[in-house]
């Protein structure tokens, strides 16, 4: 579904992603771990072209995004939902408006259909009574669940999560991970940057260790955690487990 070929990203001379090649298949749940500053967010943001790679190719469903026009990219981003560490809900809109604005304004659904979709999604994320609330009245965990609902409203083929629980109070991490697990069980293709190793163990089909702008090791979770080979990974795991 996503083919990454020789991806390089440099910011004013500093190489953050250094010739990464990887394939993400439909239905996979990729979990990316690694020390902070290693380029995980940049990698994710290159996948949906929020950041334009310095060189290399990103093929999404066969189409090379690095050569796509802006208008094409807008359409393609719709197919790649993104969830951020800081939620980035629209503060001037109610929960309903947050969820319906994209399908309505992008011409995917009528107002009535979008409203019905919002109600359906709010059932799924377990917050049906918050439909007319403003984001500022929600807890962190609730905000992130709404942000997930908002991303799902345009029916993406893949969901990208950038440390979705890192800004949450510990007692709210569970509700968000649970929702993500539900998504995974429903067959969503997911790429998740996280420090929640329990989530990686439980949900991931593959875990990638990113450090120094490269994928230094990758394996199914059991092997990844029980039998790490790269010394950097061993060191990393010993610090966080």
């Amino acid at each position: 579904m996503i083919d990454i070929k020789d991806l390089v990203m440099t910011f004013s001379g500093v190489t953050v992603l250094d010739h990464i090649s990887e394939t993400i298949n439909k239905g996979e749940k990729i979990v990316i771990v690694g020390p902070s500053g290693s380029g995980k967010s940049t990698f994710l943001r290159c996948l949906n072209m929020l950041e334009r790679p310095t060189s290399g190719q990103i093929l999404f469903e066969g189409k090379d995004l690095t050569k796509a026009k802006e208008e094409e990219l807008d359409k393609i981003r719709m197919k790649m939902g993104m969830v951020f560490q800081n939620f980035n809900l629209f503060p001037h809109m109610t929960v309903r408006q947050n969820i319906t604005i994209a399908p309505k304004r992008l011409g995917l659904l009528t107002k009535e259909e979008a409203d019905a979709k919002a109600e359906e999604l709010l059932e799924i994320v377990g917050l049906p009574d918050k439909i007319d609330s403003y984001p500022s009245t929600l807890s962190g965990g609730q905000k992130q669940r709404i942000a997930i609902a908002r991303a799902l409203a345009v029916d993406p083929d893949v969901m990208l999560f950038d440390e979705p629980t890192s800004a949450l109070d510990p007692e709210m991490v569970g509700e968000v991970l649970q929702l993500m697990k539900k998504l995974a069980d429903d067959g969503m293709t997911m790429v998740v940057v996280t420090h929640e190793m329990s989530f990686a163990k439980e949900v991931a089909s593959r875990v990638l260790f990113v450090a120094d702008g490269n994928i230094l090791e990758q394996a199914p979770p059991k092997e990844f955690f029980e039998n790490p080979k790269n010394p950097r990974l061993k060191d990393f795991l010993s610090k966080i487990l």
């Binding site: 802006e70 790649m80 980035n88 604005i101 994209a102 345009v154």
Partner: protein
């Protein structure tokens, strides 16, 4: 006391001289409202160009032109801009066959173009204050840069700068007092005409000052209420 009363009569009642003030006030308000509208439109356009350039590096030429506009307008006195607009740029142009109307149009243009430069920087600061995560969220949903600006960034920026924009209206109300330089009889000029007819400066000029002051106080009060309303709606 009786001297004050006769002074008042002479300056405002005789020959219905108070009409200089009421008609002048109307003119002042007309020019101010017209200029504010033009200033807001110009200011928003310039702010969008400037912040788009700051964020994306696009619109280089437009951004350059906007910078010249801001520098020139903010670096020269309003009165000089007004006179250049009237005597140089539109020196021989008569709009709709009416010299009177032409003066108003030129004044609205001059004050509006001037105000636009200040509005632009107010709005730009509002746009830049919107978290870049908002833009990323908008883009990740499939919105174009333009849609993201219109639906997500500008509404938030507008709300944030609304009190500052309302203050700009107050500033402009006072700035238009130089309209007399191109022969427009606004509130200030109206008072000055009374002075020149009655040879007494005290009453007409204090009346003019008083009218400005009352308007500014009312408007300031409204701005304060607006600020409180907005602060409340932020919390919900």
């Amino acid at each position: 006391m009786s001297a004050l009363v006769s002074d008042f009569k002479q300056n405002f009642i005789e020959n219905a001289r108070w009409e200089y003030l009421t008609n002048g006030l109307k003119t002042t308000l007309l020019v101010t409202v017209g200029a504010v509208l033009l200033g807001f439109i110009l200011g928003f356009l310039v702010a969008i160009v400037r912040s788009t350039h700051d964020r994306t590096g696009r619109m280089k030429i437009l951004n350059f032109l906007c910078k010249i506009y801001l520098t020139v307008i903010r670096g020269t006195p309003m009165v000089v801009q007004l006179m250049i607009m009237y005597f140089v740029i539109f020196g021989s142009v008569v709009f709709f066959g009416s010299v009177e109307l032409s003066k108003y149009i030129v004044a609205i243009l001059a004050f509006g173009i001037n105000s636009g430069a200040y509005v632009a920087e107010i709005v730009r600061s509002g746009i830049m204050a919107v978290d870049s995560g908002q833009i990323e969220a908008g883009r990740s949903l499939g919105f174009s840069y333009r849609q993201t600006m219109r639906l997500i960034v500008l509404p938030q920026a507008f709300k944030a700068v609304l009190p500052a924009l309302a203050n700009e209206f107050i500033v402009l109300l006072k700035e238009t007092s130089v309209a007399g330089y191109i022969g427009i009889v606004d509130l200030t000029k109206g008072g000055d005409i009374i002075r020149s007819q009655t040879y007494s400066a005290f009453m007409p000029l204090l009346a003019v000052a008083f009218i400005y002051l009352v308007m500014v106080m009312i408007l300031s009060h409204l701005v304060q209420r607006l600020e409180r309303r907005l602060a409340k709606s932020d919390r919900h």
